[in-house]
């Protein structure tokens, strides 16, 4: 894992992504560095989720992209060792909570206690739900669990796609407290429709529209 002199963790140059003939990201150039807390905002169809999926190595694209100095398609597995991700919609995984926890522990090589502690802090008594299939949990419970898994890994990059969409106000406060206290060198990208909610948390705002950046603004000094 490498960063360049500017401590860039993600460098994107002339990135384009099209589905069939519809271009969703158009010639996008942007760089994300260590310690940045980025609000990625924009309307539906702006290209936020597509950009996140490109970073995760799930899409082919045109242009140049480096994550930790590596190609997200060719060195996907190495890159993903250091990325925590919370999706917009919790997927209908059929494993029980306990099985999913064990799966995460093995894949991410993170102690189970870390995830269990975090889920308790998020207001989810994980042990009480061990035998329930994940997809049968409420939307909020699923989201809390996925957030616990993403934060517990202590990633270098945290990608959160509308993380608070299904959370109750109390859980939102706890989530934002956790994000505020997250290790400072982590790059955090929060995709959200609600700028008001995350404004106190971020130091840079990137607004996308129709596949390109229309606003890129540093809103406070990096800590």
């Amino acid at each position: 894992m490498t960063t360049n002199n500017n401590h860039e963790l993600i460098s994107i140059d002339n990135l384009s992504k099209a589905f069939k003939k519809q271009e969703v990201i158009k010639n996008l150039t942007i760089h994300f560095r260590e310690k940045e807390r980025i609000a990625l905002i924009g309307q539906n169809g702006a290209g936020k989720t597509t950009l996140i999926r490109c970073i995760l190595g799930q899409y082919n694209y045109e242009g140049d992209m480096k994550v930790f100095g590596m190609n997200p398609r060719k060195e996907r597995k190495d890159i993903l060792q250091h990325i925590g991700f919370v999706p917009q919609m919790p997927p209908p995984i059929k494993l029980t909570v306990k099985e999913l926890l064990n799966f995460f522990v093995t894949i991410t090589k993170t102690p189970a206690d870390t995830f269990i502690r975090l889920s308790h802090e998020m207001g989810l008594p994980i042990e009480d739900n061990y035998h329930k299939p994940f997809f049968k949990l409420s939307g909020g419970m699923k989201q809390k669990l996925l957030i616990s898994f993403a934060l517990g890994r202590q990633p270098k990059i945290l990608l959160l796609d509308e993380p608070s969409a299904n959370l109750d106000p109390q859980a939102r406060t706890i989530l934002f407290d956790h994000l505020r206290n997250f290790p400072l060198d982590t790059l955090m990208i929060l995709s959200s429709h609600r700028m008001d909610e995350i404004s106190g948390l971020v130091n840079r705002v990137v607004e996308m529209d129709l596949g390109n950046v229309v606003l890129d603004k540093i809103i406070s000094k990096q800590t």
Binding site: Q58, F103, I107
Partner: protein, 283 residues
Amino acid sequence: MKKLKKIVSSTWFQILNTDVRQHLRSKWFWTYSILFGGFVAAMFSTGITESQIIGFVGLSRLMVTFMQISMVILPIYVLITTVRSVVGDRESNVMEYILSLPISFSGYFWGKFIARFLMTYIPVFIALLGAAVYGSFTELSVPWDLFALYSALLASMIFCFLGISMFISSVASTQDLAISTAFILWLILVAFLDLILMGLMLKLRMDAGMVIGFGMLNPLQVFRTAVLVLFDPELTVMGTASYYILDTVKRELFILFAIAYPILLGLFLGMAGNRYFRKHDII
């Protein structure tokens, strides 16, 4: 011990493990398992072991019938349940999430492939083994050579249809398209079983060797012929087709072909599916 630990912690094994667990909770799996166990029980209770087919009675008769039932059910069961796997995970966003973890595309693909193979093969193998064990308790003579051949043929056919299904599942953009493709393919394979081949041969006055050769590309045809070849060494029930098959290759070589060809076809299509999966957008 170290090697075992390494395998258990590998990503493909973890995907296999989760897929097996999900299968064990699925109604499809239990219906399928009970169905095959039920067939064996029903065949014993209806006295099929005492009836006769081309001179064969007892467990051989039961096993042949079991294989004929397997030929009808297994391919379509494997196709329909498996084609939904990759494309289903894609549509439900399970794949987006699982593949945001450090799991290789190949690990994900082959983990699912092997899990599905085990969860399809084990119930039919247990049903066949159960018949043999029960038969030995009831003092029926157990045709172990037939048992070994049929176990291998079942494994080979399941592997073949898994390869076909995983390929369709990787390439298809929606579950509906994947299921329709699988169903049409199955219809074509069934339609080109030997009876229609014979008809073609007679009607179009095609070169018989070519038609039979074409037929032998059909894994269902290969399976059907191989099932018959042990208890009907001259393949008399196949009529003229047997003349070409047994005249071209020896019986032993044909059995080897019947086991190896579907496995190789399944492996080839599985590898092609995995390659497509790795090279394209996964969502």
